[in-house]
Amino acid sequence: MATLKKSSVLPGFNLTLGYTIGYLSLIVLIPLTAVFLKTASMSFDEFWQVVSADRVVASYKLSFGASFLAAGINAVFGLLLAWALVRYSFPGKKLVDALVDLPFALPTAVAGIALTALYARNGWLGQYLEPLGIKVAFTPLGVLVALVFIGLPFVVRTVQPILEDLDTELEEAAASLGAQRWQTFRHVTLPILLPALLTGFALAFARAVGEYGSVIFIAGNLPMVSEITPLMIITKLEQYDYVGATAIASVMLVFSFVLLLIINGLQAWTAKRTGRDR
C-alpha cells in the first residue's frame, strides 16, 4: 500500500481502506458479478433471443422513452421550481422547499398506490381527464406520471445550490451593457446552470429507468403496451426462468454503468464550470 499512497501522519489508512474494499466487494461487487457470470453461461444466440424478444424490446422502448420524457419534464419544471425557491419570496416557500424531497423519503409502493388512486377512472384527477379522452392509469401515460414523481427532486436539488452561489455581478454587467432579462438568462445564466441541469436530468433518468415500485401499480402491466423492463425481469423470475431474467438484467446493468460514468463526467464538468467541489 505504501507505494500507492502519499505519506501522511494520520493513522488508519490500511484499516479503513481495507474494510471499505472488503465490504464493497462482499455486498456489491461479488453479487453483481453473479449477473455477468450467469449471463456468460448462455450461448450468444440464446442471449440474443431473450434480450431481443418483441415483448422485451417493447419494454425497453417504454422504459427508456418514458424515463427520458420524465427527466425532460423534470428538467423544465425543476429549473422553474429551483428558480422560484432561490430568487423569489412567496408564502409557503419554506414548506415547498422541504417537501421537494418527498419522493426520496416516501416509499415507492406508497407513491404508486396514491398516484393510481388519483388517476384511476373515478379518481380525483381521473374523473376529469377521462371525459376529455385522456386515460392515465393503466396506460404508458401512467408510467410517465409515476416517473415524473420519483425524479422530481433531482433537478431541483442539483440546480438550487448553483443558483444560490450565483453572484449578481454577472447579470448586472449584462444589464448595464443593455441586455434584456431574457437575453441575460439565455446567454449568461443558463450556460452557468447547464452542467448542473444536465446532471440533474441524468440522475432523474437513471433513477427512472430502474424504478419499479411506483410504476407497477399505475402501469396496468399490459404486455407490449405498458410493461417496463424491471417488470420483465420479475416476470421471468416468477416463471423460474433465472437465465432469462439475468440476461435482461445484464443489458440494464451495462446501460446503468455507462450512465454512471456519464453522470460522473457531468459532475466534474459542473465543478469545473462553477468552481465548486463536488
Binding site: 471499505t20 455486498i27 422541504a98 423519503a105 396514491a114 419499479y212 450512465l259
Partner: protein, 304 residues
C-alpha cells in the same frame, strides 16, 4: 450521484436577487414562474401525499385502526424495523471508514473507488434483489450447500436484510466523503502531532465536525431501508406474517382490493416520510447555525 442528496446549507437568497433591478423580473414574469412551479408541485407532489391520508380515513377510524393492528401488519412492522436496525449500523460503519480513507489520504484509484461506491444507486432495485437470488437461491451458486445445511436466505429474513443493505449501501458514505474532503485534514494532523491516537483524533476532532452530515446520512439510509420495495419484493417470497415488510404488506392488501387497509398501512409509511423530512430540515438548520458560528458572517458579507 451525491449531488441530489447532499446536505444543503442554503439560507434565503431572495432578497439579494429581488433587491436589484438587474436580477429582478417584472411581477408578471415572477408570478408566472411561481404559478407554473407551484402548479407542478401541487399536482405531482402535494396531491399524491394528500390522497394517501384521505383514502386511509375514507372508511373511518375503526377500519383504519383495525388495519394497523392486524397481526400480519404488526409482524410486517417488526420485520421492517429489523431490516432497518441491521442495515443502518452496517452502512454507517462502512460510510465512516470509506470517508476516512478517501477524504484523509491521497491514493491511486480514488475516483474509481468513489464510482464503485455509487453503483447501488444506479442499479435497478429489481436487479439488487436478483443478484442475491442468483447466489443464494435454490438454483444459485450456494443453493445446494445451503439446502444441505438447512439454511434459508432467499424467501426468508436474511435475504430481505441483504437486499436492504445493498440498496442503502452508499447513503452515509456519499454524505460524508464530500463533507470530510471539504474540511481537509489539518485539524486531525494537529491532533496527531499533539499526541492523540487515531481513535481519540476521530472521536474528539473529526466526529464533532461531521455529526450533522452523519445524522443526515443515517436518516436517509433509514428512510430507504424502511420503504424499499423492488429489491425486497424479489427475495421475500411474500409469506404473510413471516417475510412481509410494510411496503410489501401494502401491495398485498392493495391487490386484494382492500384499498382502505392498504392506504392505512401506507399512511403509516407516509408519516414516517414526513418525520424524515422534518428531521432533515432540523439538521440543515443546525448545520447552517454551526457553520455560521464557525465562519462568522463571512457568507452574508460576500453575498451582499
Amino acid at each position: 450521484m451525491a449531488g441530489a442528496v447532499a446536505l444543503h446549507v442554503g439560507g434565503d437568497h431572495a432578497a439579494r436577487f429581488e433587491g436589484k433591478a438587474a436580477t429582478r423580473e417584472t411581477p408578471l414574469v415572477k408570478w408566472t414562474i411561481i404559478g407554473l412551479a407551484l402548479t407542478f408541485f401541487a399536482i405531482f407532489l402535494l396531491l399524491p401525499l394528500l390522497a394517501v391520508f384521505v383514502e386511509a380515513f375514507r372508511k373511518g377510524w375503526e377500519t383504519y385502526l383495525t388495519a394497523l393492528t392486524d397481526p400480519d401488519a404488526l409482524s410486517a412492522v417488526r420485520l421492517t424495523l429489523l431490516a432497518a436496525l441491521i442495515s443502518v449500523p452496517l452502512n454507517l460503519v462502512f460510510g465512516v471508514a470509506a470517508a476516512w480513507a478517501i477524504a484523509k489520504f491521497e491514493f491511486r484509484g480514488k475516483h474509481f473507488l468513489i464510482t464503485l461506491i455509487d453503483l447501488p444507486f444506479s442499479v435497478s432495485p429489481v436487479i439488487a434483489g436478483l443478484v442475491f437470488v442468483l447466489i443464494f437461491g435454490a438454483q444459485g451458486w450456494l443453493g445446494p450447500w445451503l439446502f444441505d445445511n438447512d439454511i434459508k436466505i432467499i424467501f426468508a429474513v436474511p435475504g430481505i436484510v441483504l437486499a436492504t443493505v445493498f440498496v442503502t449501501f452508499p447513503f452515509v458514505a456519499r454524505e460524508l466523503i464530500p463533507l470530510m474532503q471539504a474540511q481537509g485534514k489539518e485539524e486531525e494532523e494537529a491532533a496527531v502531532v499533539l499526541g492523540a491516537n487515531g481513535w481519540q483524533t476521530f472521536w474528539y476532532v473529526t466526529l464533532p465536525n461531521i455529526k450533522w452530515g452523519l445524522l443526515y446520512g443515517v436518516i436517509l439510509t433509514n428512510a430507504r431501508a424502511v420503504g424499499e420495495f423492488g429489491a425486497v419484493s424479489v427475495v421475500s417470497g411474500h409469506i404473510r406474517g413471516q417475510t412481509n415488510t410494510l411496503p410489501l404488506h401494502v401491495e398485498i392488501l392493495y391487490n386484494e382490493y382492500m384499498f382502505s387497509a392498504a392506504f392505512a398501512v401506507a399512511s403509516l409509511l407516509a408519516m414516517l416520510a414526513l418525520v424524515t423530512l422534518v428531521i432533515k430540515n432540523w439538521i440543515e438548520y443546525q448545520a447552517a447555525r454551526s457553520y455560521r458560528t464557525t465562519y462568522g458572517t463571512s457568507q452574508q458579507e460576500s453575498a451582499s
